[in-house]
Structure formats: structure tokens, C-alpha cells
Amino acid sequence: MFGLALLLVAVLWELYKWVGPEDGGTVFGLAILPRTSDYAMPHVWDMLARYAQPERRGFPTPIISTVASGAWFSLRLALAGFAMGTLVGLGLAIVMARFKVIERGLLPYLVVSQTVPLIALAPLVVSWGGKLHLGAFEWPRWLSAAVLGAFLAFFPVAVGTLKGLTSAPPAALELMDSYAASWRQTLFKLRFPAAVPYLVPALRLGATASVVGVVVAEISTGLAGGIGRLIIEYAREATADPAKVYTAVFGAAALGLLMAGMVATADLMLMRNRPREIVE
């Protein structure tokens, strides 16, 4: 199904390139039709063929290995960011589920935090990190990118988990009360298992958000080695080598898919003994 959808996108791309105006077009005086020249929209097969050619003339390896190693670098950052974001998100959700007052006080700020543009935040995180010295610990540059990934990832995890933790039916909570179960027992025996169906979509959002965070952070902090940096570098060469930037863009997309796929696998394992039902 996914392969078919991909093929369909490729066909649509080529179709528009074929019928669309070479130099773009205007509708009612608005320039909204994209240009279809080979510079603006390279052919799908040119993009694919580009993977086999080296990054620069004279380089021994094809660009696919450069993109792959960039993706691998970014994947590790995204995983680190996702892990941090998940831990923070779970922690916040537990605290908010435990104390209604904290939920009321904290949740609006969490929402506001997501409206801060990442590009504005990135240099701040780098400079805070640079000033941070904990004994022998030196803040590595990559950690800033991971932190920014975490910054985007924690939010969906926190909100989804909070909804899940409060989703346990009143009768089940009453039952736990009748057993004189402690809050912790209720958390681990009832609230967490009941939250799993809510947790999975939240984690999927968090996983892809961490990729976005890391890619944007690489670009805005100038961190070399990752897929974000490749995108910005190749984009500068778009006029000379238009297919090149797409090799990196697809690399980033694959990264997001890979992260979401990992969550989907975890979902299958966690939910294998559950009735399949739709969570609204």
C-alpha cells in the first residue's frame, strides 16, 4: 500500500511536470502554479539516478553513501532526542495526572512552549550548553541538536500520556480504591496499562517530531555531519545540480518513517493481547 502511494506521488509529479507551464503560471493574477523546468522540478528518474553519482566530481563513493551516513548521524541524534523527550513527557504526564493543580498551572505553558520557533531557540540552547560545566562534563555540540529534538518530542508524549492516564474508567478506579491500592499501585497496575492505546499515537508523533527537531537544529546551529546539514548544503547547489537536494530530502523523510516504524513495531508487541478498538 505504501509503495503504491509512493508510486502515485511520483506519477503525479511527472504528470504535472508534463502539463504544467515551464515558467510557472498565474491564476487570476496570482503566481501560484510552480515552475516545471528541470531546475525547479527534476525528473523522478534523475533524482534516483543522482543517488548513484558521487557527491562531487572526483569523489570515490556515490552520494547515496554520503546521504546514508548523514541519516545515520541524524538518526542517533533523533533517537537521543526522542528518548529524552519521552522521559520528560512521561514524567510531566504523571505529575499532571497526580496533581490536578499542576495540570492546570503547567499545561498552558507546555502549549506556549510549542509556539516558540525552533530556529529562535536553537542558538540559545547552544549558548546555554556551552556555558554549562558539570565537573568533567563538557556539553558536546550534538547534544544541543538532540535537546531541540526532545523539545519537540516531549509535547505530544506528555499530552497523549496525560489523556491515557486519566482514561481509566471510574469503576476500575473505584475497584482499586476498594482494594485500598496506593496511588503508585494504581498507576502501574491500572493507569499505565490503560494508557497504552493512547501512548502509541503520541509516541509516533513524538518520534517524527524529534526528527524534525534534529534536522532543523542541525541547520540552525550549523552542526556538521547530519542530514539537515546536507539538505542546506545541497540546496545551495540547486541551480547547478537540482536533483542533488532531493537525495538528502528523501533521506530525511526515510528517517522519519524509520522512527515511526519503530514505534509501530513496539505497538504491535504491546497491543498483541488487546482487543482492537478505536481510541478517540
Binding site: A171, A172, D177, S178, Y179, A180, A194, V196, R274
Partner: protein, 261 residues
């Protein structure tokens, strides 16, 4: 020996002191001896579920006192001196049937082997021995409710509190479950407090039926039911059974009809 349950002069007001205050229960007095099967019956809003939750200490009374075997209700809850079953079986989807029955034992800190043995014992008691490793959603409603009863009795509490446990079942399953419940409680000599809407159910199960009325919730009648050992259809079709049903129905009629909205 002290009473299994003693409700002394208990009143409950929800949202006390606020404009939306509701007098849920007024001056309730009730003493239940060990081995009794007592039903609370009445129209919605008569406080029967509230009364059950006060006995279970899921609610604190506004005034008065609830004792269980001479112990304050709160202490009885902390000691898990009762088991409880609700209208929804309320089994945990992610646990197998046996693991669901083990839940109260787990919370009490029993070790694994002992828990498993007891859970299997309970499942045999409710005749679901073959379903230990099934998941709740693979079971019918009646079977789920039997698991819930097994769970409620897993720690061998002397008292079982039930809030319309068969309310969601169809009539045939319901009658079967009533017979099963009497058998189980007989075998385990458990005292039961049972909340229901159904007159035949109350009469068939109980040694005593407590009739309650709303606004404010209170006890209006106490009807002793002495039908001897219950024998399924034989009992259900006996004249004495119908007489008791009529008696309870008339007691319920006695409540001003305007009260029953």
C-alpha cells in the same frame, strides 16, 4: 460475635453547604448478621448505591458510623475485609482471566505461586477453570461477570458487596447467575449485600429485602424472605415466591408515585 455490617444512623449529603447540595441518604440504620443475603432495592436516586459505597468506605458518611465486624469501615477497607463487584465486570483487558482474579492478591503482596493456585481455585469455583489463560474480551458477558465474582472472593473476604452485578445480562443468563451466586456464597459462607432494580432477583437471592425510597434516600420497609433453600424453577414458580414478590412490589408502590420520576 459482632454483626457483619452495622450501619448506625448514617446520613450522606453530597456537595454539603453548596447550593447544589443533595441529601442522598438520611438516618440509615441497618444491621446485617454473618451469613445473611441482604438486597437493597428501590427506584433510582433512593441512595442504594450510595449506601453500598458507604459500607465499602468508597464514600465517607456525612454523619453516623459504619462498622464491619466491629471494625470501622475504613480499617475494614484497608484490611480488604470485603470483595466488591460492579455492574460492569470491570476486568482489565490486558490481563488474562487468571491474572485478573489475582489482582487483589497481588496488591496484598502474595507471592506468585500462591496467587496462581488461589486464582485457579476461584476459577474452578465459578466454573471457568478452562479459561484461565483467555483474555476477558474473549468471554461472554455472563462469563466476565463470573470472573469478577471470582476476583471479588479471591482473598476469601467474609463479605461481598455487589452493585447491580447482573444488570447488564439477559434474563436467562441472569437467572443462571443468580443460582450460581447462591451456590458460591453457600460454599464459601459469604455474607452478601446486593443492590438491584429487579424485584424477582431480590426475592430469589435474599434472606432480607431492604426497600428504599428517594428524596431523601431512606429505608422505608424491611421484608424478611424465608423461602428455604432455593431450587431453581421449583422456587421461582412456587406460590410463596410470588407472594413475596407482591409484598415487595406493594412496599415499593407505597412510595409516593410522584417520587418515582
Amino acid at each position: 460475635m459482632s454483626a457483619a455490617v452495622e450501619v448506625r444512623d448514617v446520613s450522606k449529603v453530597f456537595n454539603a453547604g453548596r447550593p447544589n447540595a443533595v441529601q442522598a441518604l438520611v438516618d440509615m440504620d441497618l444491621t446485617i448478621e454473618p451469613g445473611e443475603f441482604v438486597s437493597l432495592i428501590g427506584p433510582s436516586g433512593c441512595g442504594k448505591s450510595t449506601a453500598l459505597r458507604l459500607i465499602a468506605n468508597l464514600l465517607e458518611p456525612t454523619s453516623g458510623q459504619v462498622l464491619m465486624n466491629g471494625k470501622p469501615a475504613r480499617k475494614a477497607r484497608l484490611d480488604q475485609d470485603y470483595g466488591m463487584a460492579f455492574q460492569q465486570a470491570g476486568l482489565f483487558d490486558w490481563r488474562t482471566v487468571a491474572k485478573n482474579v489475582e489482582l487483589p492478591l497481588e496488591l496484598k503482596g502474595w507471592d506468585k505461586a500462591k496467587r496462581r493456585t488461589r486464582a485457579l481455585e476461584m476459577l474452578d469455583l465459578v466454573k471457568l477453570g478452562d479459561f484461565a489463560d483467555h483474555f476477558p474480551w474473549q468471554l461472554s458477558g455472563g462469563m466476565q461477570q463470573r470472573v469478577a465474582i471470582g476476583r471479588a472472593l479471591a482473598a476469601h473476604p467474609p463479605l461481598l458487596l455487589m452493585d447491580e452485578p447482573f444488570g447488564a445480562l439477559d434474563e436467562m443468563t441472569r437467572e443462571h447467575m443468580q443460582a450460581e451466586l447462591l451456590r458460591i456464597c453457600g460454599e464459601t459462607s459469604t455474607t452478601v449485600v446486593f443492590v438491584t432494580h429487579s424485584i424477582p432477583e431480590a426475592v430469589y437471592l435474599s434472606t432480607r429485602v431492604i426497600v428504599m425510597s428517594p428524596r431523601p434516600g431512606r429505608i422505608t420497609d424491611v421484608i424478611d424472605v424465608d423461602l428455604g433453600p432455593r431450587r431453581g424453577l421449583e422456587t421461582r414458580e412456587a406460590v410463596a415466591f410470588f407472594k413475596k414478590i407482591t409484598e415487595v412490589r406493594e412496599a415499593l408502590r407505597g412510595i409516593e408515585t410522584s417520587d418515582i420520576a
